[in-house]
């Protein structure tokens, strides 16, 4: 059985060094110290911990890793440049190691803040202080505690009341050396404001192992709307751990999609807390594990108040001795009447060597609610395969068509066509569709 051990580099000296380096305000130092205490007090997950039972913990081990340093090379790869050009974003930022290597934004809407988190602490201290750690903090998991204590930089977005940011904003996170990498995104969308944001994690392969710990905090005030994409396509030497959590005010709406394609192992915890009446959270997910990859997904739809709507659709495929897990939870608090909550997980098992575990769950403490959950796991339907082959498609082409068609249901609901197309291209490349890899 795998047991995880601590990392000697995670200590008080390390956080003091960060606070000193950036001359951080006292409140932030105090937060980091508290987070570190909380980290130290929390045991590492084991396979006996319910939430981690099907996780191959060793693949997320941090023992012996150093904290991420400056990148070896601050340049941005051609591929990432193309991704930026293709993203239609009116503001982008590139994080590499602990550095921001690109920041460009020409945001025409008034009062929008889009900057790196470090700069935000200096220039928008009150905004940051009010919201940082309000959604993702050291109380949640060993890894949110680690991130809360040790993050060095990240992305900060604030959209003021009534402002609609028309074009997407995006952050690309990359790396060229191993260790423990930390990323943090804090998005605050104020009353009746709107935003579309893309967080993309990607790298060219490098030799060392990188453990990347990402925290995404989303605050949606009353009537705010956010479309959020988390796209994980790291090179295969990376293990990715991501807590992506949103708090939704009255009538706020979140449309999120969490995509896991790259890395050696990845865990995405996607959580919405519906705090304001009438708020809506659509949480989509797509994953495709091949060549031994291991992907964990966890969703939480927490209805803390009445008239909330939430809809989870996670679809994935596994092949070549890979594994995926999904576990989902709908929590409806007492008093959260007239809740509508749906949760669907569907998996394609493309060979016998691969494995899927799917555990949908409900915890309902109100009586006037509509909730449903469903989960399926199975091979490509034989009748569909036969149908396609009866038209002359070779078996491998039939399989490509069926897998992409199966996953298409998720991407067809993403209202960002460029992102949807890119994800479909990566999926096709993983499937070995001829001529696609070259175009990525």
């Amino acid at each position: 059985m795998a047991t995880l051990t601590d990392n000697v580099n995670v200590n008080e000296a390390a956080i003091a060094a960060i606070s000193d380096r950036y001359d951080e305000p006292a409140w932030l130092r105090a937060e980091r110290e508290a987070a570190l205490r909380s980290y130290a007090a929390m045991p590492f997950p084991t396979e006996k911990t319910e939430e981690w039972r099907y996780t191959q913990l060793k693949r997320f081990d941090i023992a012996g890793l150093e904290l991420a340093k400056a990148p070896k090379d601050e340049s941005i790869s051609e591929r990432i440049r193309m991704r930026i050009a293709d993203s239609d974003a009116e503001g982008v930022m590139v994080h590499k190691g602990n550095q921001v290597v690109l920041k460009q934004a020409q945001i025409k809407e008034q009062g929008v803040v889009f900057t790196d988190l470090r700069t935000a602490v200096r220039e928008h201290e009150e905004l940051v202080r009010e919201h940082l750690y309000s959604v993702v903090n050291a109380t949640q998991t060993k890894y949110t505690a680690l991130n809360s204590a040790l993050w060095e930089n990240g992305t900060f977005v604030y959209v003021p009341k009534d402002v609609e940011v028309e074009l997407p904003l995006g952050a690309f996170t990359t790396a060229d050396s191993g260790g423990i990498g930390l990323g943090r995104t804090l998005i605050v969308v104020d009353v009746n404001a709107r935003l579309t944001f893309l967080d993309e994690y990607t790298s060219e392969p490098f030799d060392e192992r990188l453990f990347f710990d990402a925290a995404t905090e989303i605050v949606l005030k009353d009537g705010a709307k956010l479309r959020y994409v988390s796209l994980q396509n790291w090179s295969r030497n990376v293990a990715h751990m991501n807590k992506l959590r949103a708090h939704l005010g009255r009538d706020a709406r979140l449309e999120s999609v969490t995509v896991s394609l790259g890395g050696d192992a990845a865990r995405a915890e996607v959580e919405s807390r519906l705090e304001g009446p009438g708020s809506e959270s659509e949480m989509l997910g797509l994953y495709f594990a091949d060549e031994g990859q291991h992907f964990n997904q966890f969703t939480l739809q927490h209805h803390a108040t009445e008239r909330g709507f939430s809809d989870v659709l996670f679809k994935g495929a596994v092949r070549d001795a890979s594994s995926a897990t999904y576990s989902g939870m709908i929590v409806v608090d007492p008093g959260a009447q007239k809740t509508d909550a749906y949760q669907t997980n569907r998996n394609l098992l493309l060979d016998q060597e691969s494995e899927v575990v799917s555990i949908p769950q409900l915890e309902i403490a109100a009586n006037d609610v509509k909730c449903s959950h469903g989960s399926t796991t199975g091979p490509v339907p034989e009748d569909q395969r036969f149908y396609l082959m009866s038209r002359g498609l070779k078996p491998e082409v039939a399989e490509h068509v069926l897998v992409t068609g199966f996953l298409h249901e998720v991407m067809s609901r993403v209202t960002l066509p460029k992102v949807a197309e890119y994800v479909e291209r990566v999926v096709q490349a993983k499937l070995g569709v001829p001529g696609v890899k070259e175009k990525l």
């Binding site: 569909q384 009866s390 070779k394 078996p395 996953l407 298409h408 067809s412």
Partner: protein, 253 residues
């Protein structure tokens, strides 16, 4: 038999490790002719159609299927299709997330050499011609394959694909059931458009009505996994009036 036929010879087939369904089918469809296959529910007509197309649900225990003199038993379904066989299914499946246009492009390209893929213009012209032949709205080609299609629309899609793929031999399994009168005419027109010296078809149906539009050269009757009678087109009318009981009695089935 001659070169230009689809020939079923003493064919016995069963569900894999299960019950026998075809118990010695003999049948010849020459290229250039259209034959009808009739028979009571459950007699094995669809099974025969799917076995010819290579459905892995079934296994052949005896006999042979010859396409222009060559056995196709060892061929996968896709190879059979590329050799010019086509089955319009009685119950076409829904394939989510794949548009008719993309699917047909892949199906056409599967018949061509790598590097010689069909041009965009040529493809759309071909597709549009077929859509028009069926009096259909062009937007249909962007819809996902049979997703949310009505019963009749699925049948129409099967004929659309036939027109685009231009097989040498087609088996139409109850393409007429579920069609309204207008659609029946349109679909028959589609099949008649494909008709010619290079095209052979086996049309499975329960109704004389269809055979008024697609006039068969011969009619075969299947009972309990065997073709028990073959006759001219008038045989279909006789069945329409008298049912199957007299045939059962005549053959002692």
């Amino acid at each position: 038999m001659s070169d230009k036929t689809l020939e079923i010879r003493n064919l016995h087939a069963r569900i894999v490790d299960g019950e026998a369904i075809l118990k010695g089918v003999d049948l010849v469809v020459p290229r250039g002719e259209v034959h009808a296959l009739m028979g009571p529910n459950g007699s094995g007509k669809s099974t025969l159609a799917k076995v010819i197309a290579g459905d892995p649900q079934y296994e052949i225990t005896e006999g042979d299927i010859l396409l222009e003199g060559q056995s196709i038993l060892e061929m996968e379904p896709d190879e059979r299709a590329r050799e010019g066989l086509y089955l319009a299914f009685q119950y076409p499946v829904e394939v989510p997330g794949v548009s008719i246009a993309n699917f047909l492009r892949l199906a056409l390209n599967a018949r061509r050499e790598e590097g010689d893929e069909i041009g965009v213009m040529e493809f759309y012209q071909k597709l549009q011609r077929a859509v028009k032949e069926l009096n259909w709205d062009e937007s249909i080609i962007e819809r996902n394959l049979h997703e949310g299609f009505s019963g009749g629309e699925k049948k129409r899609s099967e004929i659309l694909q036939l027109l685009v793929l231009e097989p040498r031999y087609a088996i139409l399994d109850e393409t007429d059931s579920g069609l309204d009168v207008d659609a029946l005419k349109v679909v028959s027109q589609g099949v008649n458009a494909a008709r010619g010296p290079e095209f052979g078809a086996l049309v499975i149906t329960h109704y004389q009505r269809l055979l008024n539009y697609i006039v068969p050269d011969k009619v075969h009757v299947m009972v309990d996994g065997r073709v028990v009678r073959t006759g001219p087109k008038e045989l279909a009318m006789e069945l329409d009036q008298k049912g199957y009981e007299w045939i059962r009695e005549a053959v002692g089935a």
